[in-house]
Amino acid sequence: MNSIEPGLEARINEILRDPENAKTGTTTDDFSSDLQSAIDGVRNNLEGADQAATNAVIGTGSPHDVMLSLTQAELSFRMITQVRNRLLEAYREIMRMQI
C-alpha cells in the first residue's frame, strides 16, 4: 500500500520505465509543479502544527486539534522525505544508464 499522491507516483514510474526518454521537458515541468505544490502542502502542515502546539500551551484549541495537526505534519513530512528518496533513486538509475 502506497499513499504517495497518484500523480507524483505516475511521474516517478514514467521516469523509471523509460529513463532514456525522460529528459527535462514538458513531462518534468508538470512534475516539478506537482512537487512544488506537495512541498507547499508540507510547509502548510508544519506551520499548522506550530500554531496548534502554541494553542495547546496558551489554552485555546482542543486536544484533538493539536494531535491531528502534529501527526499530519509529521506524516506529510515523512512522505515528502520518501518522495525525495525515490527521486534520488530514479536519478541514480538514470545516471547509471547513461554510461
Binding site: 500500500m1 502548510n44 482542543s62 499530519q72
Partner: protein, 123 residues
C-alpha cells in the same frame, strides 16, 4: 489540511472530533447548571450531518448545513424554571464521551497505518 496525504477520511475524523468535543462542552455546562434557576439545557445534534458528510464525499458533493446548538428543555420541576434532567444529561454525556474516545482511537489507528505505509511502502 490533508494536502499531500490525500486521505478523505481525515477531514471526516476531524469533524467528528470537533463536533463531539463541542457537544461535551455543552453537556458539561448543563451539568454545572443543574441547579441554576431558569437554566435550560442545550445540545448539539450531528449524527445526520456526519452520515451525510461521508456520502457527499464519495459522491463529490458538498455536505449539508452545519449542526447548530439548540435548546433541549427537560420537564418542568415547578420550582425555579430550571429544566435540567440530571439522569438524561449524564447518559448523553457518557455516550458522547465514548464516541469521542472511539473516534480518537480510529484516528490513531489511521495515522499509524499511514505512517507504516509511508515507511515500509518505500521499499
Amino acid at each position: 489540511m490533508t494536502g499531500i496525504l490525500g486521505d478523505p477520511l481525515l477531514p471526516w475524523l476531524q469533524s467528528a472530533l470537533d463536533l463531539s468535543y463541542k457537544r461535551q462542552g455543552l453537556l458539561n455546562t448543563n451539568l454545572a447548571n443543574a441547579d441554576t434557576p431558569g437554566y435550560v439545557p442545550r445540545d448539539l445534534e450531528f449524527n445526520d450531518y456526519l452520515t451525510q458528510m461521508l456520502q457527499s464525499q464519495s459522491e463529490g458533493m458538498p455536505s449539508g448545513p452545519e449542526p447548530t446548538v439548540e435548546d433541549r428543555p427537560g420537564p418542568e420541576t415547578g420550582f425555579d424554571g430550571n429544566r435540567v434532567n440530571l439522569d438524561d444529561e449524564m447518559m448523553k454525556m457518557a455516550a458522547n464521551k465514548l464516541l469521542y474516545e472511539l473516534v480518537s482511537q480510529v484516528s490513531h489507528r489511521k495515522m499509524a497505518l499511514i505512517r507504516y505505509a509511508i515507511d515500509e511502502g518505500g521499499r
